[in-house]
Symmetry: D2
């Protein structure tokens, strides 16, 4: 009767993000996931890789057992 | 630094829902709200009114400090 | 990197609750579960059984992959 | 009818933590707050200060409109 969800504290892209504008990306993840919205959050390619930069999530959408994030990259790590 | 959200266990429409199809409705609420998705949930006009029926939330969207629900009415109370 | 949790909208006891006082019960469930606290919530023995009554959750504790609820029964269904 | 909660992605102590053991601390915060448990999380004195270190939250308790965290400091920033 419960609804499984996953609390996430960073964005792990696995390189599957799509750029929609200059600094705006869309990323679809499996399952229902809870992310902080409009709060600086780290972006990584994999969960163990270095940080790519920092983003603000602008939109979260839950539908058909998936979560679609729209996020704005606000800073980029120079080493990337 | 935290993100305020509200855990909701029923849909309170305040009569502001929009029918998009036969049994499918869209409702926009203020703030970021967490609802169970794809689980039967009671629908009421106000929080103290009798139940209108039961719905399944099919989509939840968070953006710009508001939550947009798309829900499917699966049963209707005969007294309404 | 995420934390799995389950959003719950009712208390399903499976008969495993322990009475600690007159109307106060403690129930331990597997996993991290999110329940509304201090809001009337239905109590059932199994997820498909009839409602036993209504409770207010007074305390939620997460530790070692389990959730311990303390709830106060505020109404009892006469048929039970 | 909803339950207000706050999603938190770091521990902000405001110097109010109590040491209970070597690396184990207890911190009480106002309101119901959702934190990732058993996942590395940053600890800061204020939300704008530098990081003090990293912790694992071992226990979260919600009761009477407050949240009590028990966390284990797993790394300390040398500059602190």
């Amino acid at each position: 009767m419960g609804m499984p969800l996953e609390l996430n504290t960073m964005i792990v892209t696995k390189g599957r993000e799509t750029r929609v504008e200059e600094n705006l990306f869309v990323l679809k993840k499996k399952g229902y996931r809870l992310y902080p919205i409009e709060i600086p959050i780290e972006v990584r390619k994999t969960k163990d890789s270095d940080s790519n930069g920092t983003a603000l999530i602008k939109k979260v959408e839950w539908q058909k057992s998936s979560t679609t994030l729209t996020y704005q990259l606000i800073s980029l790590n120079s080493t990337n």
